[in-house]
Symmetry: C2
Subunit: 359 residues, 2 copies
Amino acid sequence: MAEVSNKQVILRDYVVKAFPKESDLCVINTATIKLKLPAETNEPADAVTSSKVQLVLLKNLYLSCDPFQRLLMESVQGLSVPSMSSYTPGSTIHGYGVAKVLDSRNPDLKAGDLVWGTTNWEEYSLITTPQVLFKIHHTDIPLSYYTGILGMPGMTAYVGFYEICSPKKGEYVFISAAAGAVGQLVGQFAKLMGCYVVGSAGSNEKVDLLKNKFGFHEAFNYKEENDLNVALKRYFPEGIDIYFENVGGKTLDAVLLNMRLHGRISGCGMISQYNLDKPEGVTNLMQLIYKRIRFHGFSVPDHYHLYPKFLDFMLPRIRQGKIVYVEDIVEGLENGPAALVGLFKGRNFGRQVVVVSHD
Amino acid sequence: MAEVSNKQVILRDYVVKAFPKESDLCVINTATIKLKLPAETNEPADAVTSSKVQLVLLKNLYLSCDPFQRLLMESVQGLSVPSMSSYTPGSTIHGYGVAKVLDSRNPDLKAGDLVWGTTNWEEYSLITTPQVLFKIHHTDIPLSYYTGILGMPGMTAYVGFYEICSPKKGEYVFISAAAGAVGQLVGQFAKLMGCYVVGSAGSNEKVDLLKNKFGFHEAFNYKEENDLNVALKRYFPEGIDIYFENVGGKTLDAVLLNMRLHGRISGCGMISQYNLDKPEGVTNLMQLIYKRIRFHGFSVPDHYHLYPKFLDFMLPRIRQGKIVYVEDIVEGLENGPAALVGLFKGRNFGRQVVVVSHD
């Protein structure tokens, strides 16, 4: 059987304590792949169970750029995200994506099925862990949404807000990185619940988006604030009940000073800290005790059993236009590296998606 | 009716960003008090409800020295402990104690009753908020224990360990300030539950106490460790499931590096930070996310409804000698200031109690 060319995005070398550059990644055209699984006798056995690995061959359609991918560019002590191990210099990077099944030994997946989950940054991927793939049943929604609002970031917003923060109507909610893949949804969830919602973002265009597209009550550009504590006091004279933590560092320190009694913080990322030589020290942790606050770090793969419940919640609201989503779509895998590193400079405007192929 | 002299401990002036000194407090002998409540017509009305305040007149027997009292010596932003407001320079300080009721307008308390709760550092106190007093029903236990193992610190250990940390048999538990009023109990609770327990303290005598009196599996003197991260790795090669946070700062930072997946931290104080000009920055907070850790700040007055359940748990175990308690008792209110400020230098050996009167 003929082999086809398989464009790939490779990590050149570990990125240590610095912002990643486009040149840390490269796009290569040298690999080829057969668009049919090998004969079963040639399949690898699982190292642990000795049973045959249930290979799945994917054609990748959409890939997403996620902050956690920065962590995979170095060997982070203690990072423990299921199915997401550190990248290997010289090898293809991985992340979340939407793909079409071309061939499958997994009984739950057949050729022609659409899936979202963990895949590689290349045109075609041979997946050895099909348990990280979710079958897509609802195709009246744009397929790219399964990298965002209906995928990992959507679940992150849903679990982090509803399950971890136990929100109540009328509470005061603050969201950092609010125009990002997760933040824009948390803000809309909070609004639907009857909370007062303020978001911060890194440009005036994003602030406009938060207020006029997503319906945040207020939003501000953190780069234009000399003192985040003063800014938060302006928007939250009564304090903050719920903080959805996406950035860490100085923002977290200022938020702690403004939390209310029995406040809740859900943390799924600290993007401001990933590229620093040394993380910033957070000095106001005593507020966690004075105000009896719960800070709950979480990682959404621990909560994927809630995905059906999440879909039941989201699908009607998306169809009715009650929840909207903004994507920043770039065409072509060759433009993936620029899109991915742009994330850490805040260049994306909404969920950053890379189109590998439209079908 | 004759008045008697009423010795009092007074705060001279606010203590700001420094270790408190004995001279920040003074003992005065100039006040007098009538050992009978005033006629009802002269009683003050409650500012909020306009109803008569239910005055209770106490003879103080035992007072305890608690880390949170340091916070009351200055005006701390956001401190919000029920019934514990900041001290007023020139006025008597307050805290937890055991006392005998001499006279009462509260229907639940009568002359001769013994109580524990919030009282003032003086020989006799007129209490206007009797809801902060708990009646003592079991007097076969040393009365001073109601300032410790059967009072606020006992409840703190019980709530923080059982309710907040959701411990399971076989888990790895670390306790800082482990020889203190709270830590010594958390260690014994963890041991009873079948956990592996290690504590840190600030002297070799305290380390000996932890291992040989309270049955900790291991203990170490943090002052003799150059690198707390290295020390923790030595005692917890598999990592820490539960951290009972009493100190904050550098210790917390090192603990974060050694926490296990889905670990829990209950925080009721950060004594290492109370006297600093500026709190130490904690840099390893990303571990909260990587390991999906829950940090839960709490204050025990929020949980006093559990006191009957707590007593049912504690009383038989104290009587059977299954839980022991070490107190550091000084005689005389005039020695109270030295005992209180000694707490912040770690001079106490077990629960620090001041005897005002034995009966």
